[in-house]
């Protein structure tokens, strides 16, 4: 095994851009496997024999197999796999790493982003709306803050993955990833608490004099949904209730 070469800037940029489309061919057979091959491909051109050489083809075929992870953290895997291929790690070790890193990269990303950063930014934008922000400010606040975190994670993942190679588990144990989700969840809870009443007030419009009733019904509904969580999806229940309400309104 050798030390992997420093990746040229254009190669890194190409990998980063391709990472934004890592789920472009997501399917139930390979999941994001082909996307991983697509994103790691620019680095594989540095293998002995160059593009379409034997080493390149073997590595590309290996990287296209089944893989799944959180898309924003897929860069950690892409960086680590590029590093492993370019430093000549044995194929069976690369395969075992691919299998083992799917779950953790999915779990950390889901907790940090889908269950933390995204709801936090969403309720922050709702709070801005509730406080009277204009549409431009509310949307730019959401997109700016959310994507600052999103893009940072993508860039960090690719960099740290390539730096640490198959030893990237230590980077995943970083306090920001271990404890970050809990801090983000608490922040999301606090902002959501402030935002929900103000956002409801902002959208209630012509029913403003019924605001207390609306709040009470929302709280009751939330309590019922929280009790039933995991068994029903609120948006589906709401869709059914809205259908009934609309039907009643037009036929009565």
């Amino acid at each position: 095994m050798t030390t992997p070469p420093k990746l040229p800037l254009l190669t890194r940029l190409s990998m980063l851009l391709r990472l934004l489309a890592v789920q472009g061919s997501w399917n139930y057979e390979m999941m994001m496997g082909n996307g991983i091959a697509f994103a790691v491909e620019p680095a594989l051109r540095l293998l002995p024999g160059g593009k379409n050489g034997d080493a390149y083809r073997a590595a590309l075929a290996r990287q296209g197999g089944y893989f799944n992870a959180h898309p924003y953290l897929a860069g950690v895997a892409v960086g680590a796999l590029a590093s492993a291929e370019l430093s000549g790690e044995p194929p069976d070790r690369i395969e075992r790493f691919r299998t083992a890193c799917c779950g953790p990269l999915g779990s950390v990303g889901d907790r940090l982003i889908w269950a933390g950063w995204l709801p936090a930014c969403s309720v922050a934008a709702m709070l801005a709306f509730g406080l009277g922000a204009s549409p431009v400010v509310a949307v730019l606040l959401f997109l700016g803050v959310y994507n600052a975190g999103h893009l940072t994670l993508r860039v960090w993942g690719l960099r740290v993955g390539y730096r640490d190679g198959l030893r990237v588990a230590s980077a995943l144990a970083h306090p920001a990833l271990r404890c970050g989700p809990a801090h983000v969840a608490r922040a999301a809870a606090l902002i959501a608490g402030i935002a929900l009443p103000l956002a409801v007030r902002g959208i209630v419009g012509p029913a403003r004099e019924k605001l207390a009733v609306v709040m009470g019904l929302a709280a009751l509904g939330a309590f019922v949904l929280a009790r039933l969580q995991g068994r029903v999806e609120g948006w589906r229940v709401a869709m059914g209730l809205l259908a009934a309400f609309i039907l009643f309104s037009v036929v009565r």
Partner: protein, 163 residues
């Protein structure tokens, strides 16, 4: 029952397990049963990195899991027992004298020789036979990736007629 779910999922620890099931069921421990992972420190480090600090994860071989099963079931908090393949779960069921009554098929993904049964379940003939053995032993086997999804009974899974 402390073990809220016995799950077969070839991705082992991932978002559906930690967040999808972990949050609504308030799970606080995971028992990952896999002979290869139980013998590999670097793989354990990776899987551990995916588990939140407030959640406990232990890595067991089938043999060590069987010896500790009673202690898992008698815990005051709730957890999940995970295997990465059907054969490991079958060995676990048989070695625990059929103390496991429900098994959740959470995800078995595409590989050469496997045929699609559900969008997240692909099975080879020997794996179908192993699932039938589980079912014949009185274990209720249902496929369900996340709690909000409709559980699909084994007969529908094998017929490929699930959701």
């Amino acid at each position: 029952m402390a073990v809220a779910l016995y799950r077969i999922d070839d991705r082992l620890i991932h978002g559906q397990v930690i967040v999808g099931w972990g949050q609504p069921l308030s799970l606080s421990f995971i028992v990952l049963v896999d002979d290869a992972v139980a013998a590999s420190d670097w793989e354990q480090d990776l899987y551990r990195a995916g588990v939140p600090p407030e959640m406990e994860v232990t890595f067991e071989s089938v043999a060590s899991a069987v010896s500790k099963m009673a202690s898992y079931e008698s815990r005051a908090d709730k957890g999940i027992v995970l295997t990465g393949d059907i054969d490991t779960m079958l060995r676990l069921v048989e070695a625990t004298a059929h103390a496991i009554h429900h098994v959740n098929l959470g995800g078995i993904h595409h590989r050469a020789g496997r045929a699609p049964r559900l969008r997240y379940v692909f099975l080879a003939p020997d794996e179908e036979a192993a699932l039938r053995t589980l079912s014949d032993a009185g274990v209720v086997v249902c496929a369900q990736d996340v709690p909000a999804a409709t559980p699909v009974p084994l007969t529908a899974v094998l017929a490929g007629s699930g959701a």
